[in-house]
């Protein structure tokens, strides 16, 4: 087998290759030090990102929020809010009409947002390449606290011949984007050292 591409190595590390393909890559790695070190590095970063994400998930109390919402709804029904029960057919139709209108507006707004997105975010091959190779680091952004200040944002990243991972570090309310380069050094001798 020819040397696996960086993308194949990432897919291998993430367990996304077919069993046959993974077997071929594994066989190659057995006899080749450099790609094996690269896979080790990818696995280290993946482990860090997963651990960070799980740590954040641990601070979210979704169950409590859902239970509070259910209890609030039960209390509203229990205190005799009978409007829903005695709703006339005409008001029901009006509600359906408004639902449709509001739904249409939402769909139009979504379409508008999609059409007016910055083209560089969706057309840049470099940006899409980075997103494809390292989607997991984005997760902590979604799980960040609501009070987090929106920090600087990376618009385009072209790591070139090297490999890069894009993620954010949250310290208090500050969210700082980080580009971590997988530098093998000019002599390409040492293993990656972030963790």
């Amino acid at each position: 087998m020819t040397e696996p591409t960086p993308l194949e190595l990432m897919q291998y590390a993430d367990g996304e290759l077919s069993p046959e393909h993974a077997e071929r890559v594994a066989a190659f790695l057995e006899g080749s030090e450099k790609p094996r070190r690269r896979v080790d590095g990818i696995e280290q970063i993946g482990a860090f990102v997963r651990a960070s994400f799980e740590q954040r998930l641990g601070t979210l109390d979704v169950t409590a929020d859902v239970m509070a919402a259910i209890e609030g709804e039960s209390a509203r029904v229990g205190t005799g809010d009978s409007a829903a029960g005695s709703e006339s057919p005409s008001s029901s139709r009006r509600r359906a009409l408004w639902s449709l209108v509001v739904g249409g507006m939402a769909a139009a707004a979504a379409a508008s947002l999609w059409l007016t997105r910055p083209t560089e975010l969706i057309s840049s091959p470099s940006a899409s390449r980075t997103t494809a190779s390292a989607p997991q680091p984005q997760a902590p952004v979604a799980a960040a606290d609501d009070e987090s200040e929106v920090g600087a944002s990376v618009e385009t990243l072209d790591p070139g011949p090297s490999e890069a991972t894009l993620f954010v570090v949250q310290a208090g309310v500050d969210v700082t984007p980080v580009v971590w380069l997988l530098d093998e050094g000019d002599e390409a001798s040492d293993r990656m050292e972030p963790l």
């Binding site: 449709l100 209108v101 707004a109 508008s112 007016t116 990243l157 580009v179 380069l181």
Partner: protein, 165 residues
């Protein structure tokens, strides 16, 4: 199709056509948030050397809680090697030679309203070979981004690039 249904479809169609037009008003900053002059912005670059030499964080670095978070916390020593400020002028890239002889190049791409700028950064190896061809970042004054991972003398280089005014 009944008259009622026909009206309903017409109403939705009007909204579908109208909302995109409303969503994209002409972008013209008001006089109070006119884009500031490009020359007033700068990039402060902190070149840090991260190792596990057991020396802690150099006090000259200042407050940087990010260094205490993973993956930066996997290094216990951060030394400030260099702190420079480069003015950001559109069309005039600024360079900084890094300790590993690679060259960091920053350039102002755009001045945005509300003290925001869009800038690019790249790193070249000696001899002109590109190491990090392109990184474009949008940041507000005071906000930073970090480029880390370059090997250097038993550790790594951590470049903290902050937009200043």
């Amino acid at each position: 199709m009944s008259v009622r249904a026909h009206r309903l479809v017409s109403t939705v169609a009007v909204f579908v056509l109208a909302v995109p037009a409303m969503a994209e008003p002409p972008i013209r900053p008001s006089s109070s948030e006119e884009a500031p002059k490009a020359a007033s912005f700068g990039a402060e670059v902190l070149v840090l050397h991260a190792t596990n030499a057991g020396k802690g964080i150099d006090p000259r670095i200042g407050r940087m809680p990010e260094l205490e978070k993973p993956p930066f916390s996997s290094y216990d020593s951060y030394v400030l090697l260099e702190k420079v400020r480069k003015s950001l002028v559109r069309g005039t890239p600024k360079t900084l030679e890094l300790p590993n002889k690679r060259v960091l190049r920053t350039e102002l791409l755009e001045v945005l309203p509300n003290d925001q700028v869009k800038l690019s950064a790249s790193i070249n190896k000696p001899g002109g070979k590109t190491f990090l061809p392109l990184l474009e970042v949008k940041a507000k004054v005071g906000q930073a981004f970090i480029v880390a991972g370059q090997k250097y003398e038993g550790g790594i280089l951590v470049l903290v690039i902050r937009v200043v005014k």
